[in-house]
C-alpha cells in the first residue's frame, strides 16, 4: 500500500510540472489569437480612452513576460484572477458552472459504460453473426452522428411531441436525460467498439478454452474470466472519454442550454476573456490528470499483477 501511496505522490508532483507548462502554453495561445480583448469588452460605442483604461485594468499594457509573472504569482496564491467580461473572480465563475458539467460528463460516462460494455461483449461473443453486424451498424451510427443533429432530433421527439422531458435547462432531475443521452452516443459507440475488439482478443486465449472445457456457465466465463482480462484497455478508453466529455460537452451544453463550463469557455474565447480561458484550461488539465491517475490506480485493483513501485 505504501508503494501505491508513493506512486500517487509522485504522480501529483509530476502534475505540478505539467500544469506549469499548460499554464505557459495557454497563456501564450490566447494571446496569439487575433483581437484586442479591451476593444471587444468595451463594445463598439466605447471611446479610445475607455478602451485604453480597460487595457490598463487588465494589465494588457504590460510586456508579455511581466503579464506571465503576474499570472503565475496569483496562480500560486490559488487566485485565477478577475474575469475581464463580468468583473467577477474567475474561480467563482468556474465553480458556479463546474458541477453542471461534471454531472453531465459523469452521467454520460455511466451510460457509456453501462450500455457500451454489454453491447461490445455481445458483439464479441456472437462475432460475425447478424447480431454482431447490427450492433456494429448501431455503433457506426453513434460515432458518426453529429451531437448537434442528434440533440435536436431528441428534443423534437421527446420534448416537443411526447413532452416527456424538458427541452432545455437544468432545473429538474429529468433535465439530465436528453443531454446525457446525446453526449453519451459517441462514447457508447466508442466503448462498445473497444470492448468488442478487446474481448475478441481475450476469447482466443487458452485459459478461456480451459474455462469452457471445465464446463463453467457462459456468464462466469464471459464476465469473470474474459471481461476482467479485457478490461484494462476498456477502462483506459472510459477514462479518456470522461476527459473528452468534460471538454466536448460544449455543443451539447449549447443545444440543451446546460449551464456548464463548456459554454463559459466558448463565451470567454469569443470575448477574449483571457483570465477565464486560462482558468478553465488549467482546471480541465487538472481534472483530466486526476481521472487518468484514478484509472491507473484502478488497473491495480482489476489486475493484481500490476504493482506500483
Amino acid at each position: 500500500m505504501s508503494g501505491l501511496l508513493r506512486y500517487i505522490v509522485q504522480r501529483i508532483l509530476a502534475l505540478a510540472v505539467t500544469l506549469f507548462f499548460v499554464a505557459l502554453i495557454v497563456f501564450l495561445l490566447v494571446r496569439l489569437l487575433p483581437g484586442d480583448p479591451a476593444r471587444v469588452i468595451a463594445g463598439v460605442f466605447a471611446s479610445e480612452e475607455d478602451v485604453q483604461r480597460i487595457r490598463v485594468q487588465l494589465n494588457l499594457d504590460k510586456p508579455l513576460p511581466t503579464q506571465f509573472v503576474y499570472f503565475l504569482a496569483s496562480l500560486l496564491r490559488g487566485d485565477l484572477g478577475i474575469s475581464a467580461r463580468t468583473s467577477e473572480p474567475v474561480m467563482r465563475e468556474i465553480l458556479s458552472r463546474l458541477p453542471a458539467t461534471v454531472k453531465l460528463a459523469a452521467a454520460s460516462t455511466f451510460i457509456a459504460a453501462a450500455v457500451g460494455i454489454p453491447l461490445g461483449t455481445i458483439a464479441a461473443t456472437k462475432a460475425h453473426s447478424s447480431l454482431d453486424f447490427s450492433i456494429s451498424a448501431l455503433v457506426l451510427f453513434g460515432i458518426s452522428m453529429p451531437v448537434y443533429w442528434l440533440g435536436i432530433i431528441l428534443i423534437i421527439i421527446f420534448a416537443i411531441h411526447l413532452r416527456w422531458f424538458p427541452a432545455a435547462g437544468a432545473d429538474q432531475p429529468s433535465s439530465l436525460v436528453l443531454p446525457s443521452l446525446t453526449l453519451a452516443a459517441f462514447s457508447v459507440a466508442f466503448v462498445a467498439r473497444m470492448t468488442r475488439s478487446s474481448m475478441l482478443e481475450v476469447l482466443r486465449q487458452d485459459y478461456i478454452r480451459t474455462a469452457w472445457a471445465k464446463g463453467l456457465s457462459a456468464l462466469v466465463v464471459l464476465y469473470r474470466h474474459a471481461l476482467r482480462n479485457a478490461m484494462i484497455p476498456i477502462l483506459t478508453v472510459i477514462g479518456l472519454q470522461f476527459g473528452e466529455l468534460l471538454g466536448g460537452a460544449v455543443l451539447t451544453e449549447s443545444v440543451f442550454s446546460w449551464p456548464g463550463v463548456g459554454r463559459l469557455l466558448v463565451d470567454s474565447i469569443f470575448s477574449r476573456d483571457y483570465p477565464v480561458v486560462q482558468g478553465i484550461v488549467l482546471i480541465f488539465a487538472c481534472l483530466f490528470a486526476l481521472v487518468n491517475l484514478l484509472v491507473d490506480v484502478l488497473y491495480g485493483l482489476i489486475d493484481p499483477r500490476i504493482r506500483y513501485e
Binding site: L33, P34, G35, D36, P37, R39, V40, I41, A42, G43, V44, F45, A46, S47, E48, D50, R53, I54, Q57, R85, T86, S87, E88, E93, S96, R97, A100, I152, I155, I156, A159, I160, R163, P166, A167, A168, G169, A170, D171, S254, V255, F256, S257, P259, G260, R263, L264, D267, F270, S271, R272
Partner: protein, 513 residues
C-alpha cells in the same frame, strides 16, 4: 352507499365553493428565453441590448422611449434645457422607492451619474455622457446636469440603461461594490430575485412599484444560446416568449396558430462599409455602382424572410434626425457603366469580409451580395472570421488597414442621429472610433459637429438631413437594410410589444382571456 356518495359529492362541492375563491393561487410566471447570458447586471457596465433589456425590469432611467422611439418621462417627470444648451434640469417623480425601501432623491441620481463618469468604474458606453461636467442637486427632487458643451442628444441618451438609477444604499450589500454591482436594486416593476449564471435570472413583482403593476408575479429569463433550442422551448410550451428564432423558420412560425411572430421595427442599419481611402473604391462613382448592383428587395425576401426594410437614408427612420434621402434601385447595367466610368475593369478582384451569426443571416446575405457584385463584373471573395478577430481587422488604423469591403451592423443605443453619424465623422476613424470606411468630407464633418450642439430641434434635424444627402450621394456604404427584431410568443399571452432599439417590451404581458 349511494347516500354516502351524494354526501361526499356535496361536501366536496361545498368546500370548493367555500374555499375555491380564497385559496392562495400559485404564483403566475412569465418565462422568456434569450440567447446570451448577460455579461453584467451592473447598469453602468452594460454593453449588450439583451442584458440591458433584462435590467430594464429592475432598474429605471430618468427618461425612457416609447414604441415610436420618442423620449418620454420615467423617473423624471419633466426636464428643461437651458437656452444656451449648457445645462439640463430634471424634476424627479415624487414618492418613488427603491426595492430596498430607500426613497429616490436627487442625491441618489447624482450618485449614480457621478459613478458613470468615474474613471474607476468600467463604463463601456460612457461616451454619450462625457459632455456632463458636473451634476448638481438643486433640491431633493431636482437635479441639474451642467455640460462642458451643449449636447442636444443628452436627454435621449438618458433613456439608455447605462444611466439606470440604482439605490446608493445597496453598495456594500448583496455582494455589491462601488466598482461592480452584481445584485441591482432599482425602482422598476420587478425586483431582482436570483440568478444561476448561464441558466436563468428570476425576477419577482415589486408590490410597492410607483406605476402600473404588472400581471405576472414572476418573470423567469432563461439563457438558451441556440436559436433552434429557443424555438423548441416555445413550441414545447416551456416558455411564453423567445427572441431571435432561427431566421429560416420565421415563415413556418408565422403559419403556426399556437404562436405569434412580431417582426419588430428596429434601429440596426446593416451595410457594407467600403474603404474609401484604398483601391479600388476611392471614387464615388465606383461606390454608387456597388449600390446599384444589388437587388436588396430580393435578398430581404428570400434570405432574410422579410425581417428587414431597405435603407433609404444613411440612418433608420426611427432615429431623430432622419429624413428620406433616396434609393439606389437595382440596375445592373447602370452599375456596370458606373464601374467603367470609375476606371474599374471587369475581373477586378475584391474581398468582402463578413461576421457569421452576429446579425440576422449575415453570412448568407454576404454570399448573395457577392453574387450580385460578380454579375457586375467584379471577382469577389467572401471571407468570414470570429467577432474579436473581425473587429481587430476592421479597426486597424488606415496605414495598416487592408480591408476593401466589410459587412457591419450599427444600432444606436438611444434613438438620436448623433451615434449613427459617428460612422461618417472623420474624427471617428479607427482607432479612435468605428468609422471604418475612412470617409472624410469637410462639409459633413461641419454639419455633424454643428448638429451635436444645436439646441433647436428643427434646425438640428435640418443639419442632419443636409449631411444625409451628401453621404447618400457619396456612398461610403452599400446601403442595405434596417434589420427587424424577431420576437415569437405563445398565442396564449398578449400585450407584448417592442421598443425600436431591439428591446422587447413585455412587462405588462398577460394571459389572453
Amino acid at each position: 352507499m349511494r347516500r354516502i356518495l351524494i354526501l361526499a359529492v356535496a361536501l366536496v362541492l361545498g368546500f370548493a365553493a367555500a374555499y375555491g375563491g380564497s385559496a392562495a393561487p400559485a404564483p403566475t410566471t412569465f418565462r422568456i428565453a434569450i440567447g446570451i447570458d448577460p455579461d453584467t447586471l451592473d447598469p453602468a457596465q452594460t454593453t449588450t441590448t439583451t442584458a440591458a433589456n433584462v435590467l430594464d425590469y429592475v432598474v429605471e432611467t430618468l427618461t425612457t422611449m416609447d414604441s415610436e422611439g420618442k423620449t418620454q418621462p420615467l423617473l423624471a417627470e419633466s426636464w428643461a434645457v437651458s437656452p444656451d444648451g449648457k445645462s439640463v434640469t430634471f424634476t424627479l417623480r415624487k414618492n418613488v422607492r427603491f426595492h430596498d425601501g430607500t426613497p429616490l432623491t436627487a442625491q441618489a441620481v447624482k450618485w449614480n451619474l457621478d459613478r458613470v463618469l468615474d474613471p474607476k468604474v468600467r463604463v463601456p458606453i460612457r461616451a454619450p455622457y462625457i459632455p456632463i461636467s458636473r451634476v448638481e442637486v438643486v433640491d431633493p427632487l431636482t437635479v441639474r446636469l451642467v455640460l462642458k458643451d451643449p449636447a442636444a442628444y443628452l436627454v435621449a441618451a438618458m433613456t439608455w440603461t447605462t444611466v439606470g438609477i440604482v439605490s446608493p444604499a445597496s453598495v456594500g450589500k448583496f455582494g455589491n461594490t462601488y466598482e461592480n454591482i452584481v445584485h441591482p436594486i432599482g425602482t422598476g416593476p420587478y425586483v431582482f430575485g436570483s440568478r444561476v449564471k448561464g441558466e436563468r435570472i428570476v425576477l419577482e413583482k415589486f408590490p410597492r412599484y410607483w406605476g402600473k403593476k404588472p400581471f405576472y408575479d414572476r418573470v423567469v429569463v432563461q439563457i438558451v444560446p441556440e436559436a433552434t433550442s429557443r424555438e423548441s422551448l416555445l413550441l414545447a410550451g416551456q416558455v411564453e416568449m423567445i427572441i431571435l428564432p432561427p431566421a429560416a423558420d420565421i415563415p413556418a412560425l408565422q403559419k403556426n396558430p399556437n404562436v405569434k411572430v412580431l417582426l419588430a421595427k428596429g434601429d440596426r442599419s446593416i451595410f457594407i462599409a467600403i474603404n474609401t481611402q484604398r483601391p479600388p473604391f476611392q471614387k464615388k462613382e465606383a461606390r454608387q455602382a456597388l449600390n446599384y448592383a444589388i437587388n436588396k428587395g430580393a435578398i430581404i425576401r428570400s434570405i432574410l424572410f422579410g425581417a428587414a426594410d431597405p435603407l433609404d437614408a444613411p440612418m433608420p427612420p426611427v432615429l431623430f434626425g432622419y429624413c428620406k434621402t433616396g434609393t439606389y434601385p437595382y440596375n445592373p447595367s447602370k452599375a456596370k457603366s458606373l464601374l467603367a466610368e470609375a476606371g474599374i475593369s471587369a475581373g477586378t478582384e475584391v474581398e468582402l469580409l463578413t461576421p457569421t451569426g452576429r446579425y440576422l443571416q449575415d453570412f448568407q446575405a454576404a454570399q448573395a451580395i457577392a453574387g450580385y457584385l460578380r454579375e457586375a463584373g467584379l471577382r469577389v471573395n467572401v471571407r468570414t472570421m470570429d467577432w474579436p478577430s473581425y473587429i481587430a481587422t476592421i479597426t486597424k488604423p488606415l496605414p495598416e488597414n487592408q480591408t476593401q469591403m466589410h459587412l457591419l451592423g450599427w444600432a444606436p443605443a438611444y434613438l438620436d442621429a448623433h451615434q449613427q453619424m459617428l460612422q461618417f465623422w472623420s474624427t471617428q476613424w479607427p482607432p479612435a472610433g468605428l468609422a471604418t470606411t475612412f470617409y472624410k468630407n469637410p462639409r459633413v464633418d461641419e454639419l455633424i459637429e454643428a448638429a451635436s450642439k444645436e439646441v433647436n430641434p428643427e434646425r438640428r434635424k435640418d443639419l442632419y438631413c443636409q449631411a444625409s444627402k451628401i453621404i447618400w450621394d457619396e456612398a461610403p456604404w452599400i446601403f442595405l437594410w434596417v434589420q427587424r427584431f424577431p420576437i415569437v410568443y405563445s398565442a396564449k399571452v398578449t400585450n407584448i410589444s417592442s421598443l425600436p432599439n431591439e428591446k422587447f417590451y413585455a412587462v405588462y404581458a398577460e394571459p389572453v382571456r
